[in-house]
Amino acid sequence: MTISPPAQPPTPPTSAPTIADAELALVPGAEPVARSNWQLFRRRFLRHKLAVVAILILLVLIVACFGAGWLAPYPKNQTNLLITPGGPSAKHWFGTNPLGQDMLTQVMYGGQISLKIGLAVAFISTMVGVFVGALAGYYGGWIDQGLSRFTDLFLIVPELAILGVAIQRLGRTDNAFIIVLAGLGWMYIARVVRGQVLSVKEKEFIEAARAAGASSRRIIVRHILPNCIGPIMVNATLAIAAAVIAESTLTYLGLGLQPPDTSWGILLNQAESAVTSTSTFYLVLFPGLMLILTVLAVNFLGDGLRDAFDPRSEH
């Protein structure tokens, strides 16, 4: 008979360790120092190595793409039919496509649109989602009912299909993408915020605030929402990733943006036939790599934020 080792960690103490305890435990023998929430947040975030790398990668991508006007080696969409299209070289780091366009330049300008869509969608859907979610969670009633029923509707139809139809309707532009994706994305964030608000509003300190005479608006803005900031930020980062993927997927399928616009989706759409030959594989590789890199970095950033906003996190 084998005796299995007691692998379970001891159950956590019923009273969660306070922030001061956790900080003291990290620096043995140190004097207790009062730290602001922001300092605590920064310490926890910087401890998450992957998240720090992720934010650096995102910064590089954002600077490279939005600064493409100054940084790109060639003008946007400039064709050069005189050169033979080929793979990466000293003159063309990412190679050139069959039109003789420099792929590095195209990837940078493409990222401008892809990232713009991602960031704008995350911002708008978070704002709207937090607003509706907070109202639904705090007041309940018809807002809550409406939100739940409305989101139920969207659970039974594939999002990609709704997106496809909506984009045909609003025109295949980057702004249409932002409107449609934000129009679908806010519901998810609203549901998350609603759930958070529902649990936070039952806490004692909310009761105390109300007893002290705080108005509902003050309670929501000053007491409830700051306690929901973790899930909100994490879902905002996830929204960036979802929007970037949705844009590139629809555009790849031929339903989204069209040249002379350029985005990572368009570059991949144009490179579709390149996968049948190993010599042109780089046309898929570089835009694809940027896409994965962005989504990976955003996801790690979300992980880092989740840990940093959670005062009880241990890593």
Binding site: L155, T278, G288, N299
Partner: protein, 323 residues
Amino acid sequence: MLIYILRRIVYSVPVLVVASFLVFWGVRTTYDPTAKYRASKDGARIVAQKRKELGLDRPVFTQWWTWFNRFLHGNLGVSDRTNDHVWKMLTRAMWPSLQLMFWGSVFALALAIGVGVYSAVKQYSIGDYAFTGISYVGIAMPTFLFGLLAIALLVTLPVTQFHLSEPIFFSVGLHSQGQSGLNLDYLRHLALPVLTLTVQSVAVWSRFQRASMLDVLNADYVRTARAKGVPQRTVIFRHAFRNALIPLVTVVALDSAFLIGGLVITEQIFSISGMGRLFLEALQFGDVPVLLAWFLVVAVFVIVFNLIADMLYGVLDPRIRVR
């Protein structure tokens, strides 16, 4: 249980009806079937006449009601694109899609559960870290990009590297010319589409299974089982595994709509004439009857899928059976 199922079905009817109206409104107002007449001589008159013929001059609600009524009577109309009966087109397209969904679900569940349980039991081992890393990349990988990379690396590359006369895996359709049935040829066609369809699901589901398995392994009753000397294998499979499956069932059911979205992408990349391709073709052409029927059929499918998941709870957890 039967009453519970019936109640669920009754609840889903209003959702379905409202969804069908919203879809009708969205699709109907996106496409104008009379646009092609506008440019012709005397266009305005012909357009007006056609609109009257098609009933487009009436309010959207009345139009929807007419359409919905016909739908309930099994009349899905005729495609604007092929002049074929929509029902026939749907049933034809459903078969390849069902095959993909079936093999995809079986493959994805088996892999996700296997990986999840392994990672939980051997937490913080090299294997666990490797699977974690792979699943992070899998989650970040858009479905269509995985499909493209799979064709480039698993079809094109071996052929050019080893000078093969035909690739190991095929990237077009589900059967070679003149082939049918369950054979090696089928599997060689099926491998890449199924992989592409499920790569994101496997990544997400395995993380989920790992988390819920860890939860269960730390539960008191598992410790009790260990304390009284139950062998590790029995603890994992008899006591922990079954309970760790319950949260996964919810996620899988909620993901069924997402999987159909993946079907659209996968079928397009691998040239499989299923529901996904039918949708894309209808969307690009503005084939309103096909689009409307497609949305409704898919919605019904997702609802049924969720219902099956709910019944699975009962199988996995006897406490839920009494409802």
